[in-house]
Symmetry: C3
Subunit: 357 residues, 3 copies
């Protein structure tokens, strides 16, 4: 099994096709339910250049709409987040919509057979799973979020992600193709040389890879040297997440959920990455650190050890993927051989080759 | 009648075709006669990437040339404006031309049948109307400026634009397609929500639209609340322009003259916009405020009330056209319905569809 | 003979073809031997977007490799220059190569028929001439460096370039096509008007042009007004280069060696330019001033007079080539006539038209 051909990392046309298949054709994770905890709160999701309003109806249902007025096509919301006072109003000619997208007011449009019901905001699919919000921009989604996730909900039920809350949120601009970031996340053969801090607390040859799945790749990793969680000193400064059994308390799980979500389950916190490809050679990565509210309300709560550890490790990874981007774009690059320790990136590449030719 | 399809705002190929038809195929306004009041004065006009020298001959005729030496193709003038000492000299090998473009000197070119008369500067069409200079980059202009303007000269004769002089000149970079700026200029349905200051002094439902013309769209607007001109307080601080009758003193006329000139006639001044498309999603707008010299020489002359009012209103308009650009570029955009109050933008769109398919 | 058509300066497709023919298909000069004086020293050459490691083996042979690991395609060296401790190691998964490119170590790759000898670094041609290092990125170079240089080594033997050392190195970003820089370098008809300082010490109508050659164009120029070298005051502050005869001490030779090297031989120093096209309208120029070590070790050695003189002259030349780039990209440009004093640029253009159609 060899790495992907150079065109997969350098050809803008192939990149656009990947975006159609993976980002416009699947459920993509855009944020956390707590960002629209109350009805009328909203945030903007940016999916491959498309601006999407994500909000919550009075009924509690999450809704998502193209950020485009049905009158003259104006982008309605300019602020990245905010709260609607029950209605969504375009700042150009004051067309006004309900939180469900229905057109409520359209000044001076009377006559000519104009009917308000013909001009609701254009909705996009929106669903939640364990506190994560997903949208689907396909005109007719091929399947439900549940179908796309497969057995994941069951597999990760013990970590009770829906109970967790954001402690810290970070954005990284990475000058590399999104697939290099996925391939990097899915193997630890590079850990001894690239991540000295991480290599102290985890054994890169430990753990198991999950057998092949349609919607994700991932596996586990074990601690070493007495470490109990991922941090610079390996010390666990928080109680175990409440639902974990003995075995789950001893490992970290790393899962790349297609197309854009990395879930890193620790004994005492969860780290989330969301990948936003911007161009064939540029990706924005959002990283969130989620903790249990019971911990976060404690007076001596500390989350920065986890944040600092992974911020350092993230930056090491972005640097090497940027070095990879430069190399695989060269006419000197030819696909190279994967070792047995790189089964997950190889599996991901197989998926890519299957979908985009 | 619906708004234009998204491709008209996002497709670079279609943009280039528009530029060919509207900017390279028509007379475009590049400045004011007073910029080349004396023979030998010049300024550079930038027409869709082309640098054009605009100057005046000793005879008083305005001339325009490509800013390109006939020897090695070097751009001759680097400064945006200046004054030739009777001759136009290239800074590379000193080829020297007259103000009429004839090649006068070309060092060391003797022999080989070289004839100076074969290498004049390449001229482009140049004409004046009421103190406005127009150029035409077509190799053979389809019609004269007079033919292109139609009945405009008669219609606006009373404002005697040729007598007016620049008080203030401003440049704006707008991140939107040029047509969104034309559509925005041609309706005031957006005024109550977008322009609170403007809405105080003018009645957005007042005035008349001119019936359809080949070369322009426009109409009138009336004051309200005792206002006598467009300014933050509606107070008129200058005499009426000398040629206006009672009726003309009570209105503002807004005309978009194809392809790139907006003329806004006020009772006591004239505002001019010139649109310079830079890319499918980017336009530079020049704005000038012209006053009567008899006013400008008065000791207590004030023009800043008009400048500040429109600078504020301009910026509000550029902001919303930028919001529109973002929206109409989305895959969520579909053409929407124009109301009866949006007859002029609809008329402009009809013209666009007719010329560019 | 007329100048090149506008497409040669504006068409990105034609630019890519030129790069294939001239930069990927020929030996290009990338630096000086002294940069890798000791075995294991390296620097990165950047050839039209390709990063190339240039180093020296223990045997003394110069070697060059694509800066791309054979495992996952990662760019190996991030620093522009440095010294290998006998081995070249990729920072991602620690694949390790010898200075000859052989793969020495590849952790965890055992099994599956993996053989180290199948994965050496991909080499590119590397040769030296008189202290100048050339590389050739063609998969099979059409000819040796010696064949490409033709009679140049003999012609310039007296200046003993291999003995000279860098005193100063400068990089310039020029917003013009690389060919405009070649054309500018090859004629002095522009000197009286563009270079007042240079025009004082050299007679632009003097000297001889070499008859046409396959691999270069060039010729000589004589001093005037008592000048003995090129500097602001024409004063020679260094001994003549040791190998020069009476005649060679009285001229400056200017040679453009295809595709990317300018050699300017002075009685007491040598100036080197290397051209690195970045885009159809953008070129980076490296300039080096080389002196004899016997001079450079003198207590009262001065080289800045030569550096300052040419830095000024260089910048004048870059400015006018940028003006040329703007002009020849215009639709107002048509090829113009070369005079007899512009025989070398005409010869260069002939070569370009022959290779790229």
């Amino acid at each position: 099994m060899k790495t992907l051909e150079g065109k997969y990392y350098a050809d803008p046309g192939l990149f656009r096709e990947e975006m159609e298949r993976f980002y416009f054709g699947m459920w993509v994770c855009v944020g956390r339910s707590e960002q629209v905890e109350k009805a009328g709160q909203y945030f903007l999701a940016h999916v491959v250049g498309e601006s999407v309003i994500v909000t919550r109806e009075e009924s509690g249902t999450v809704r998502a709409f193209y950020n485009v007025c049905r009158h003259r096509g104006t982008q309605i919301c300019a602020a990245e987040k905010g709260e609607f006072s029950g209605r969504i109003q375009c700042p150009y000619h004051a067309w006004t919509y309900g939180l469900d997208g229905r057109l409520l007011a359209s000044p001076h449009m009377e006559g000519d057979g104009f009917r308000k019901e013909d001009y609701p905001l254009r909705g996009v699919g929106a669903e939640e799973w364990e506190g994560n919000i997903f949208v689907n921009l396909a005109s007719e989604p091929r399947r439900t979020l549940k179908e796309q996730l497969g057995d994941l909900p069951e597999k990760f039920a013990a970590w009770r992600m829906s109970e967790l809350r954001r402690y810290k949120h970070e954005r990284y601009e990475v000058k590399s193709n999104w697939k290099l970031i996925v391939e990097n996340y899915n193997e630890c053969l590079h850990c001894p040389i690239l991540h000295p801090a991480l290599n102290k607390v985890t054994n890169y040859m430990s753990g198991d890879n999950d057998p092949s799945h349609d919607g994700y790749v991932g596996g586990s990793m074990e601690f070493r040297g007495g470490a109990e969680t991922m941090s610079v000193d390996g010390v666990r400064r928080r109680d175990f997440l409440p639902g974990l059994n003995e075995e789950q308390r001893k490992v970290v799980l790393y899962y790349a959920v297609y197309p854009n979500l990395f879930l890193s389950f620790h004994p005492d916190y969860v780290m989330v990455h969301r990948l936003w490809p911007k161009a064939v050679d540029r990706t924005e990565v959002e990283t969130e650190w989620l903790f249990h509210p019971a911990e976060m309300t404690k007076e001596d709560f500390c989350g920065d050890d986890a944040v600092e550890f992974w911020d350092l490790t993230n930056r090491e990874d972005w640097w090497i993927t940027e070095q990879s981007q430069k190399g695989v774009s060269s006419r000197g690059y030819v696909p190279g051989p994967y070792s047995k320790s790189e089964g997950l990136p190889a599996e991901f590449d197989r998926k890519i080759r299957e979908v985009v030719k």
